[in-house]
């Protein structure tokens, strides 16, 4: 019974089939698996009458499967797993915050989003005795002491049109010795609200989990509902979801390449890509009327048809835009002054990336071949495979280079889909979740792996809904990339990750 339960990406199953292990067996299994090449897609708490159940969903690139295990913690603390499995550090902080469950021995246990825990099995008196809720940003920060050491504090309100977050740099002269990132400012209760569904706001919550990843998160939400309800999504809808997801990737990657150009003052590419990003958003708007794909992906399928003339006009606009991107990005990557700024800047080694569980282009730029489209294919990606784009240097150059190659490959993918869209319906008949089921969905959004996990209750409502945005894995990667860098390279390093605040803050 100590073997974890195995599922495929997007496969629903009876929740009772996942064995509840004694804590020691659970912890040993987790440490062993994480040490042997699996990684944590999700690790979260579920409030039950008897205590908090810890649930781990591990992903294995090797066989493309997800492994589930769980254990019950009835007290108010448990021995932290982070000291042996660093990639769990933020998951354990989140569990502590959401469930009031202390991970004993966690090296840096502090708030994630500065919200008060609401463990369902505690008495009101016990909750009341814990004092005032935490105040956002008010916490201990790691400090380097010394005569010539100084601290730089930035945010929550930044200098650009950008979301809020707080950054603390420990510097010696120009050099950053340590950066700590404190978030939570965008917390708006979206995960809590999703868990109260499914309801008519559900798709809108999904679309605004991280608004630049509208199609990605909406697809993950819909796949969860479809799996729990046993809904078949027609092939044509799957293909159009793929088109929209890759257009989202194209828009954001092209925008990021332009922004990287801007941060090293290479203005031609900054200007061109600023406009070209819009060409891909406008293609999504041709499809559904919204530049961000709002209203396109819904449980059962997609809501907008692509008649042949529209498909042809999208293809021709796509080809023009891709050609112009190729020109603009070619200028950037070939300029010696740009190479001098990109190379060796903000390095994250493969070993570090693996130990902290990086995902997405940031992981691939550190040499880790991780891409949910390839490793855990679902929907159209089962039939039309994309090669995984990897580079080994782990620096800003690598993160730019991976994006550039992914632009080419996504462009080819979209072209192929539009040239040969399968016929048939756009939507399958929706159905309510079957009771007592569980399901995890991995979608490769443009920033990396989006993981949605849901459990359904006996009435066919959600009992739990868990969202892991790629930013949840990757913010620490940015902090580590800054070590030993001049503080003036922060904007460049930050842009090379381009992480989400609202996707993290939920």
């Amino acid at each position: 019974m100590s073997e974890p339960f195995v599922s495929a990406n997007g496969e629903a199953f009876d929740w009772g089939a996942v064995p509840q292990l004694p804590f020691e067996r659970f912890a040993d299994g987790l440490r062993g698996a994480l040490g042997a090449g699996q990684r944590a897609a999700a690790f979260f708490g579920v409030a039950t009458g008897a205590g908090t159940e810890l649930v781990a969903v591990l992903a294995s690139e090797r066989d493309g499967l997800l492994r589930w295990s769980r254990t019950l913690v009835s007290g108010s603390s448990y021995p932290a797993l982070t000291p042996h499995a660093p990639e769990l550090h933020l998951f354990e902080r989140e569990i502590a915050e959401q469930h009031g469950l202390r991970p004993e021995g966690h090296p840096w246990s502090k708030p994630v989003r500065f919200v008060a825990a609401t463990p369902s099995h505690r008495s009101p008196e016990e909750l009341a005795s814990r004092g005032a809720p935490p105040q956002v940003g008010v916490t201990d920060f790691f400090r380097v002491e010394g005569h010539e050491v100084h601290e730089v504090a930035v945010g929550p309100v930044h200098a650009g049109v950008i979301e809020p977050g707080h950054f603390r740099f420990q510097c010696h002269g120009e050099e950053v010795m340590h950066l700590e990132i404190s978030l939570g400012y965008q917390h708006r209760g979206v995960e809590r609200a999703l868990a109260a569904g499914p309801d008519k706001r559900g798709p809108h919550y999904a679309e605004t989990l991280a608004g630049d990843t509208t199609v990605g998160h909406a697809t993950a939400y819909c796949q969860v509902l479809e799996a729990l309800g046993g809904v078949r999504v027609p092939a044509r809808a799957q293909a159009l979801r793929g088109v929209a997801l890759e257009l989202e990737r194209l828009a954001n990657h092209v925008g990021d390449l332009g922004a990287l150009a801007g941060d090293v003052a290479y203005l031609p590419t900054a200007s061109y890509c600023g406009r070209l990003r819009g060409e891909f958003l406008n293609l999504t708007a041709e499809l559904c009327g919204s530049r961000f794909g709002r209203g396109l992906v819904r449980p059962g399928g997609v809501r907008f048809e692509v008649p042949a003339p529209l498909g042809r006009s999208m293809l021709s606009r796509l080809d023009t835009a891709l050609g112009e991107v190729n020109d603009a990005v070619g200028l950037l990557m070939e300029a010696p002054s740009v190479q001098a700024r990109f190379e060796e800047t903000g390095r994250v080694s493969a070993a570090t990336a693996r130990s902290i569980g990086l995902v997405g282009p940031a992981a691939r730029a550190s040499g880790l071949p991780r891409d949910a489209r390839h490793d855990f294919p679902h929907g159209v990606y089962r039939f039309h495979q994309l090669p995984v784009t990897v580079w080994h240097t782990g620096d800003v150059f690598a993160r730019a280079h991976v994006r550039r190659k992914e632009v080419e490959r996504s462009g080819t993918f979209v072209r192929r889909q539009l040239e040969g869209l399968p016929g048939g319906a756009l939507e399958g008949a929706p159905a309510a979740p079957r009771p007592g089921q569980a399901c995890a969905v991995l979608v490769e959004g443009w920033r990396g792996e989006l993981c949605h996990v849901a459990l359904s209750d006996e009435r066919g409502r959600f009992a739990t809904y868990k969202v892991v945005d790629p930013s949840f894995h990757n913010w620490l990667g940015l902090a580590l990339a800054l070590r030993g860098q001049p503080i003036s390279d922060f904007p460049l390093c930050n842009k090379s990750f381009n992480l989400s605040y609202c996707g993290f803050d939920l």
């Binding site: 608004g211 630049d212 990003r277 819009g278 041709e286 009327g289 709002r294 020109d327 605040y501 609202c502």
Partner: protein
């Protein structure tokens, strides 16, 4: 160098001619939902029930749409059995007051949006510096505000600019429902802007809380925290909708009278 120049030539001049020419909008663009009450059947309220943000209400048999709540999502259109709901292909959505955003469902006109008074127009009409604050926004509105700074829209040609400090700003451009965790930062940023100052609420969240309306973690839009001078609906608003609102506020394009 030669490659740089030939690329420059190929990329060409790409700034929109708006407002001299009408904006290029996609055929499926969704502006105001327009509800034809003559096609409503016997007290049917399917559209109002389907709306995720309760943007549709009925005054007897007359439908009303609150553009400040609307997500422009087609849920109402799909729920309507009589085909009474269509989306107008009009990018103009901005209004100066919250009340002006609540429009009769059958109204074919854009909401009214008057320019600033003469004194403020003299101050801001040809130079408006804005500090952007995202207070729980999803990066959708933020992204389409950012786009105005690209060569495609070139906001600078109207004298409008996003600045890095509230001390340098004439006003705030707020996105997001105002998460509780950003309320203090928003108040402080507003206080740091020298008077007279403007506040522009962009997107359904900043106007009404959007999908987050009623959440204990948010404050249902920014006019619960700071006084708002211009509301720009959308989820997110199209860049042309934002630009149109800004230019109307400054009296740079025909405003006031409804057309």
């Amino acid at each position: 160098m030669l490659k740089l120049l030939t690329t420059r030539l190929r990329q060409g001049h790409r700034t929109t001619r708006y407002p001299a020419e009408p904006p290029a909008l996609p055929p499926r663009f969704r502006g105001r939902p327009v509800i034809d009450p003559t096609r409503c059947e016997g007290g049917c309220r399917s559209c109002a029930e389907a709306c995720p943000t309760d943007a549709i209400s009925f005054d007897g048999t007359a439908p009303r749409v609150d553009l400040g709540r609307c997500l422009f999502c087609t849920d109402c259109e799909r729920a309507c059995p009589g085909g009474a709901v269509v989306f107008a292909r009009d990018h103009r959505l901005a209004a100066r007051t919250r009340a002006d955003l609540v429009v009769p469902g059958s109204d074919p006109l854009a909401p009214s949006c008057a320019a600033l008074d003469e004194k403020l127009r003299a101050l801001f009409g040809r130079s408006l510096k804005l500090r952007q604050v995202s207070a729980g926004g999803c990066n959708g509105c933020e992204a389409d505000v950012n786009v105005l700074g690209t060569i495609a829209f070139d906001l600078g040609r109207f004298g409008i600019q996003m600045v890095a400090s509230p001390r340098h700003a004439d006003g705030l451009l707020v996105t997001g429902p105002v998460s509780d965790h950003m309320k203090l930062a928003l108040e402080k940023t507003w206080a740091a802007v020298p008077a007279p100052k403007l506040v522009i609420a962009v997107g359904a969240c900043a106007i009404s809380g959007g999908p987050y309306a009623g959440h204990a973690e948010t404050h249902d839009g920014c006019d619960t925290t700071v006084p708002v001078d211009l509301y720009i609906p959308g989820c997110p608003p199209h860049p042309f909708t934002i630009l149109d609102g800004l230019l109307r506020l400054l009296g740079r394009i025909e405003s006031g009278a409804r057309r």
